[in-house]
């Protein structure tokens, strides 16, 4: 197959045009406004840009509302300040240490802090920042107390002094460019998709084997490293370091820049930093009221530009060009071949929630190449079973294993890596992403994760689900049936050895249901063990070799579809009456 329409590289360039123009404009502005104060301001904007680019890792990509970024800034500033002013070490030594020490500190606290939920996480990071501030003010022998330390050395690079003014400005912005490119490389393509899935659909992320905890911790440590670098430059450029480096207003400024510029966007970080550093200057004419106008401007941006200014620029640019992006046609690889599965064993599984037994001594076995249907009234424990198998819940008693690999101590993403795939009762798709990217994330946890390659394979999986012509459409705009099928495609794309589907046929049209049945039969023929939870009994009895019926957490019948559907207990559970037998 060959590629039609525009290759991806060209689209990339077209979309980046306004940003290249913006960078040129910024350079022109720097070249012509030229007074010392203006240069100092722009240098400061560069330092903030570095801080905010770092913050985008944890806040934008990992989606964790950290309030410690200001503290990492202060930490970096004090490492440079103490080592420089007290010990007389030079920039070449203090700068790397100012990056490493905050990062090491972040690594140290990442485990207990990242375990916390949103608001608690925010407050815990804020608490760390406050402790750091109090330390800076009160540990006078080390930090110089409230007055801080004077005589922090200027930047000296291989013996060459980088003077304030143009040299320092260029040096700082050079680091911004370096940091920006590094951040872009660390979050583009498949890595960005992995972060997005962890952030927006944590359950789906675990189900494709992504370790959300490690990803979040990595982002936290990276943000600390950038924060430390920015703090160090701050100390070097001022020549002094004081507790103001830890002031909460720096954290507020950083957060504001990230949101106003555009959450998760590198261009947004730079735009936000330049704009918000200069805004007070532009409003100086209002005299003592300029900060009020600053607040009002901030409020307006938040209300009017939900994706920040970067999002606004992108939208406007796309509208101005009159077309939506031309999307590449990707060559799809050979038909997915399934080579063998594994047997799922569920032994004596019991689970209760707050004293109410949801599952009671459930036994279940799904052989390789077998499709088993799991039925039962609402609340009988079907989804609980799926959640136990995939590790979202821990069993109270009993064991689950795939062939001879026990699930017991494993976390959901580790179970997924054993070859277990699943779909959810309500499709766990990233609403704002295309179907193809939602499926491509299936490969995010594999060693050679590469987005174009993954998209090619994802397209193949979508084709098997009959969705190839919708591959580039946004998931949120799809009908429920399409979203479900796309999720099945994501599960299938992982080439699982065992697959569990939670109500896959709900909301599907007859055609879609036929496609689904064909797909699942194909998997089974390739040796995959399949467990299908569903309410649509004609669909299930035509598909499954065996049915298992749960009621109130117990298996009340198991066997061939005919036998199970004729079972008096099953008819009672469903129709509620013996007299109703036809």
């Amino acid at each position: 197959m060959s590629a039609a329409s525009a290759p991806p590289e060209r689209i990339l360039r077209a979309a980046h045009a306004p940003w290249l123009a913006g960078a040129a404009l910024l350079a022109l502005y720097a070249a012509f406004m030229g007074d010392i104060y203006g240069l100092r301001l722009l240098t400061q904007a560069g330092i903030y840009a570095l801080l905010v680019i770092g913050y985008q890792f944890v806040f934008g990509h990992a989606g964790a509302f950290s309030l410690a970024q200001g503290a990492f800034f202060g930490l970096g500033a004090y490492v440079t300040g103490i080592l420089g002013a007290k010990l007389g070490w030079g920039f070449m030594t203090t700068f790397p240490l100012s990056i490493l020490l905050p990062a090491a500190f972040a690594l140290l606290v990442a485990a207990p802090v990242l375990r916390l939920e949103t608001h608690y996480f925010a407050l815990a990071t804020l608490g760390l920042a406050q402790v750091a501030l109090i330390g800076a003010v009160n540990w006078e022998s080390l930090t110089g107390g409230a007055n801080g330390l004077v005589g922090v050395p200027r930047v000296v690079l291989f013996g060459a002094r980088i003077a304030p003014g143009w040299p320092l400005l260029l040096f700082v912005w050079g680091l911004v460019a370096l940091g920006g490119v590094l951040a872009w490389r660390l979050t583009r393509g498949m890595k960005g998709l992995a972060y997005r899935t962890v952030r927006e659909r944590p359950l789906a992320a675990a189900s494709v084997g992504l370790d959300g905890g490690t990803l979040r911790a990595t982002a936290f440590v990276l943000s600390a490293a950038y924060g430390g670098a920015a703090g160090a430059l701050h100390a070097n450029s001022l020549g002094v370091v004081s507790p103001e480096a830890f002031d909460f207003s720096i954290m507020v400024a950083c957060l504001t820049m990230a949101v106003v510029g555009g959450r998760g966007r590198i261009a947004g970080a730079i735009l936000g930093a330049v704009l918000l550093v200069h805004l007070p200057e532009w409003l100086r004419g209002l005299e003592q009221y300029y900060l009020i106008a600053y607040g009002a401007a901030l409020l307006l941006v938040v209300i009017l530009a939900p994706d920040g200014l970067a999002g606004l620029v992108d939208r406007t640019w796309r509208r101005a060009r009159g077309t939506t992006e031309t999307l590449p046609f990707l060559p799809s690889s050979a038909v997915v071949a399934f080579t063998g599965g594994a047997a799922l064993h569920v032994e004596c599984l019991t689970k209760s929630f707050g004293g109410v037994t949801a599952l009671d001594s459930v036994e279940l076995r799904v052989a390789p190449g077998e499709i088993v249907g799991l039925i039962g009234p609402n609340g009988s424990g079907k989804s609980t079973l799926a959640n136990l198998i995939t590790g979202l819940y821990r069993p109270d008693q009993g064991h689950i294993r795939l062939d001879n690999a026990p699930f017991e101590p494993l976390r959901p993403h580790e179970i997924a890596r054993l070859g277990v795939a699943r779909t959810f009762q309500t499709a766990e798709l990233i609403g704002g992403a295309s179907l193809i990217d939602n499926v491509a994330v299936a490969y995010a946890a594999t060693a050679d994760a590469n987005l174009p390659h993954a998209r090619g394979r994802a397209l193949n999986a979508l084709a098997q689900a009959g969705l190839s012509d919708r591959a580039w459409e946004e998931a949120a705009a799809q009908p429920a049936g399409v979203r479900r099928l796309a999720e099945v495609a994501r599960a299938v794309a992982r080439k699982p050895r065992f697959l569990v589907l939670d109500e896959p046929s709900a909301g599907l049209t007859d055609d879609e249901r036929a496609t689904l049945a064909r797909l699942l039969r194909g998997l089974a023929a390739g040796g995959v063990a399949v467990l299908v939870i569903d309410h649509n009994l004609p669909f299930l009895s035509g598909l499954a070799g065996r049915l298992v019926c749960l009621e109130a957490g117990r298996v009340i019948a198991a066997g061939t579809p005919d036998a199970v559907l004729a079972h008096p207990d099953v008819r009672r559970a469903y129709l509620g009456a013996a007299e109703d037998t036809p």
């Binding site: 609402n378 949120a476 799809q478 009908p479 909301g507 309410h535 004609p538 559907l565 008819r571 509620g576």
Partner: protein, 235 residues
């Protein structure tokens, strides 16, 4: 005289796909009717549409002959529609008594009278009147949700699977309570998938399948026609 509730060609769509399609039904004053269908047939969505919690793509709904188009849910509640959602949705952090009182739109004297009536209908709630709602059992929460709806003194009561997760003894109890309430009380539309639960309660009903109303008639007609069996359990 016009019907209490009338739906004409109601279509509800989530993200482009119709969940309820071209549904029409009527409910007379004080009538109790069942809405039968399997999981995912669109029953819950239909009730939400009547309450105004999901927008209509097409069609119109009338209460007392007046259109509900453009009427927000809180206004519909004040016009006499009460809704008991699937999953009960009681206010867990509030006491049983507060849960009941919050739904009463009347003066203090009538509020006390309605509270007494609710406690008379559900003595278990009276015993627990100062307990936080989340501490109640599932069945008690269901009673509370129904009691809360009755506090509105509604002319139309929408019940979404009120028997879900209730023990058989409790099912019978709730049925009797609703019946008691229906004497001189509201018209009731019950969405349910278990035929037996409503057989003794609703003389008439509608069958739903895949978002469409597929049959209408007395419950025995529905059962004999085979439409119901197809909606619930094939073969």
């Amino acid at each position: 005289m016009s019907a209490l509730l009338e739906l004409r060609g109601v279509t509800v769509a989530y993200g482009g796909a119709p969940v309820v399609e071209d549904a029409s039904l009527t409910l007379a004053f004080r009538e109790v009717a069942a809405l039968l269908g399997a999981n995912g047939a669109g029953k819950s969505t239909l009730l939400k549409a009547v309450m105004g919690l999901v927008p209509l793509a097409r069609g119109e709904i009338f209460l007392h002959g007046e259109t509900l188009t453009g009427v927000p849910p809180e206004e519909r509640a004040r016009r006499g529609i009460a809704y008991v959602p699937e999953g009960r949705r009681v206010f867990g952090g509030m006491t049983v008594r507060e849960n009941l009182e919050v739904a009463a739109w009347c003066d203090a004297a009538s509020r006390r009278r309605r509270l007494d009536e609710a406690f008379f209908l559900f003595p278990q709630l009276a015993e627990k009147s100062s307990a936080r709602a989340w501490t109640l059992s599932g069945g008690q929460q269901q009673m509370l949700a129904i009691g809360r709806a009755l506090m509105q003194a509604p002319s139309l009561l929408l019940l979404d699977e009120p028997f879900l997760g209730l023990a058989p003894v409790l099912v019978r109890e709730v049925v009797n309570r609703i019946r008691a309430a229906a004497v001189g009380g509201p018209g009731i539309l019950i969405a349910e998938q278990a035929f037996d639960a409503v057989a003794a309660l609703a003389p008439r009903g509608y069958a739903m399948r895949l978002g469409r109303v597929t049959a209408e008639g007395t419950l025995s007609e529905l059962r004999d026609s085979g439409m119901l069996a197809e909606s619930l359990l094939p073969r």
